[in-house]
Amino acid sequence: MEDDAVAAIPGMPDVRFWADSTADFVKALPPTPGPWLSLSSGGEDGAFGAGLLAGLSAAGKRPEFSVVTGVSTGALLAPFAFLGSRYDEAMRDAYTRITSADIFEVGATPESFVNTWPLKELIAKEFTPAMLADIAAEHRRGRRLFVVTTDLDAERSVVWNMGAIAAHGGDQALTLFRTVLLASTSIPGAFPPVLIDVEGNGKKFAEMHVDGGVGGQFFVAPVALTAATSDFKLPATGLYVLINTGLQPDFDAVKRTTASILTQSVGMAVKVDTRLMLDRAYLLAKRSGIPFNVASIPPDFSAPSRGAFDPDYMRALFQAGFDQGKSATPFAATPPPYPAAPAPPSQHSENTGANR
């Protein structure tokens, strides 16, 4: 346990910190304040965030974010968001021209329901040495790109300073960069965990990392600093939170299968977690005296989806995000209102309880 607490990447001791370490977080921040962008989890619904960023570019009002953070699909989106509009084409392709065959192969492994070697290959294709060099250059300018994974052994979130990794350069840095992205998207149980070689107290071992969303659906700052009881002020000129999911309850008659019950339960828990985190982020921005901006998938978006990572669905979602990004009001200044409880049925239904 002591070894794990101080473990670092051999040869790259400065590229990560525990997400609950306020001192390390403050130390990693940019030298000058600017707008911050937090990108949430959301799987294929990351197409919404990609579209919104592209729409902001098209409207000529996309800020140059001084800090970009990403969790899960937000981690895959974050390098594109960080590098700006010159990568918009690649970002659009990444979120509109894939199918589930590019993400996973059906068939359980000892650690997961499916195998993600296709996603590993996709990440290697998308995140090139040239992109790494561009990220390193922005890091040297003082901008910061953070990606979050979950160290499952430690039950703690880890923030990876992706710009610092890129600045190291070389094959080891490129491999680590891609490995962190894969880890941040590796939903435990569904996707295999990602083992990362580290060294602590002179001992070499591998940490087990999984989806950053396990520790929170997006990342702004260590929880101790975002807490309602904290007086911490964000050293930013504005906070933008891009939620790659809808926040309203989405009725779907649940089949009486383990997978179906898990799917609906996790989906609901993610929405609840996201809502609570948004409230915290809003209060932090208010306390810091900076504008709060949030965008999420509009409640009226209703394109059909034929299975996971349906490119038609993702294109429709990208377009919805693009239209919103290009509109006069791409962001709301407060978290979306909680939906009202549905009206009670007018007459008693005999078909109560489980399942239809």
């Binding site: 949430s40 989890s41 959301g42 799987g43 294929e44 619904d45 899960s72 699909t73 199918t99 589930s100 065959a101 996973f104 192969e105 059906v106 068939g107 359980a108 329901f113 499916v114 195998n115 296709p118 998207t185 939903i187 435990p188 149980g189 569904a190 996707f191 989806d211 969303g213 790659n244 999911t245 809808g246 989405d250 779907d252 089949k255 299968t257 997978a259 179906s260 898990l262 799917t263 609906q264 996790v266 989906g267 828990a269 993610v270 929405k271 998938i297 209703s302 059909p304 989806s305 034929r306 299975g307 996971a308 990572f309 349906d310 490119p311 038609d312 669905y313």
Partner: protein, 134 residues
């Protein structure tokens, strides 16, 4: 109408459900008696794309070819596979699960393959590509 939820876990699990729903219980080995070949033996990954019908848009499955016969490469009980490879890489495979089945035909080369497929009830059809993994 179905919306895939944002949670990645939800997506992956939903994918499994969807996969199982177009597959089967009684896979049938193609009845052709052409000589089999071991030239393509190994583990292959097959990407299936739906071009017609309302089946899921795409999936990827691992398959193993052993002595010219096509079998599953994993232990997932949700689906069954049967098929054979003949001379020149001609291949026929039936995948079954969830009370339905789909049959694909095509041709393998040394490390790649492609062909077409359709469900037994004619509801969906499309193309497949394959790459040798081992």
């Amino acid at each position: 109408m179905r919306r895939i939820l944002g949670a990645s876990l939800a997506i992956a699990v939903a994918a499994l459900i969807a996969a199982a729903s177009i597959m089967p219980s009684d896979a049938a080995v193609p009845r052709r008696r052409a000589p089999l070949t071991s030239a393509y033996d190994g583990v292959w990954s097959v990407s299936v794309v739906t071009l017609r019908g309302d089946c899921d848009r795409g999936y990827r499955y691992p398959l193993r070819i052993l002595g010219g016969r096509v079998v599953k490469a994993d232990a997932d009980p949700a689906y069954a596979v049967a098929g054979a490879v003949g001379r020149g890489g001609v291949i026929g495979v039936t995948v079954a699960g969830g009370g339905q089945s789909a049959t694909g035909y095509g041709r393998l080369s040394r490390n790649l393959g492609r062909g077409v497929w359709r469900t037994s009830n004619g509801r969906c059809s499309g193309q497949w590509t394959a790459e040798r993994r081992e």
